[in-house]
Structure formats: structure tokens, C-alpha cells
């Protein structure tokens, strides 16, 4: 029973990314939205927390914050709103780490 872990807070302001990462098990996926997308920037201290995990980021939230796709950690996938829906649909549950 796979879970999609949604993180919408900056990893430098809240601990939701840490907790979500700890709760990820095989088959789960993570989607970073809103201020959560800052975790996917390479060179940042938070980047190491998501390495090796199945992580997607919401493209429109990246663009709003001036983050180009070249700045992302390797292995991170950029999705649009339709991709967000696909992720929700392809996992059994959604856990929002508010």
C-alpha cells in the first residue's frame, strides 16, 4: 500500500521534510510543493536528505521561486499539475506533512 508523501514547507524552516523522509518506505513517493521545493536545490544543505529517494517537484512552484530545472538535485523529477494528479492516483494514499 504505497504512500505519496507531500511536503509543502521549507526544509530550512520546518522539520517536515526530515520526518517525511524518515517515513518513506520502499514503493513510496515524495512530492515537494510550495516552499517544499527548496529542498530539491543542489548545493543546499537539505539536498542530502532526499538523495536516493523517489522525489518529484511541482514545476509551477519552482518557476514562481526562480529555481531553474538545472539547479535541481540529480534524479528529481519535475511534474506539472496533471502530473500531481497522476501521482495521487498511482499511490494508494496521500500523507500531507503539514
Amino acid at each position: 500500500m504505497s504512500i505519496l508523501h507531500l511536503v509543502n514547507k521549507s526544509p530550512y524552516e520546518r522539520d517536515s521534510l526530515d520526518t517525511a523522509a524518515d517515513y518513506m518506505v520502499d514503493g513510496d513517493a515524495m512530492l515537494l510543493i510550495e516552499d517544499g521545493v527548496y529542498a530539491a536545490m543542489s548545493g543546499g544543505k537539505a539536498a542530502s536528505k532526499i538523495s536516493g529517494m523517489k522525489v518529484s517537484v511541482l514545476g509551477p512552484d519552482l518557476a514562481a521561486r526562480g529555481i531553474s530545472e538545472e539547479k535541481l538535485v540529480d534524479g528529481v523529477t519535475v511534474v506539472d499539475y496533471a502530473g500531481f494528479v497522476d501521482l495521487v492516483e498511482s499511490n494508494d494514499k496521500v500523507q500531507s506533512w503539514l
Binding site: 527548496y38 536545490m41 518557476a63
Partner: protein, 135 residues
Amino acid sequence: MSETKKFMYVNRRAPYGTIYAWESLEVVLIGAAFEQDVSLAFIDDGVYQLVKGQDTAGVGMKNFSPTYAALGDYEVTKIYVEKESLEERGLTLDDLQHLVWEDEDDDWAEKDSIRLVSRAELAEVFSGQDVMFNF
């Protein structure tokens, strides 16, 4: 005749996720009309406010980032960016907007508004202020 005070606006939040960044900018612009000695500091997630290339078309929110470039015209010329906060986030000054002001006492020469400072240096700047506003 009123006495000029040193006002420091401290920005610690990322833009868009909360309303703090935008509200701070509004207050700074309103306050600028009162001819005080205004400084802005961007620390922690606040440094994200100045990242260039913001495009909010896809999220249906107002992109207020071009407004930072107008601060110089309001005689807001001291913008402190904390080095440690940039480094922790994998950012450099090149990732930020290039903010300038025109010095009327120097033949309107264009000068940089952003001052890259360490946490310790910024603490000294804070010590010298009369009023602090936090966002």
C-alpha cells in the same frame, strides 16, 4: 522638525508560501515616505525573496519580486544579505537580483544596494538600529 531614526526591516521568510514577504515590502514602501534611515536585512529563508527569475504565471499569484528593484528610487539603499544563509541554501550573489540606487551626491552614479555580510557583521548593524520590524 522630527528626528530621523534608523529603521531595520528583518526578512526571514520565503516568498509566496506565506504573506510575510509581500507584507514587509508594502510596509517598507509606505514607511519610505516618512524619510527615515531605512535598512533591510534578508536572512534565513528571507534570502529566497531576492532570487532572480521568479515567474508566478503557473501558480496564479502576483509576482512582487520586480518591486525590489524600485527600492532604490525610494531611497532604500542599504540591503543586507547574510552570507551564511545564502551558503546553507546553495545560493550565491549571482542567483539574486542586481539591486542598485543612484547617488545624487556623486553625479547620479549607480551603486550596488546589496551588501553581503556575515552573521556577526549583521549583528553589529542590528545593534546600531533604533527600531526593528520583523517579517
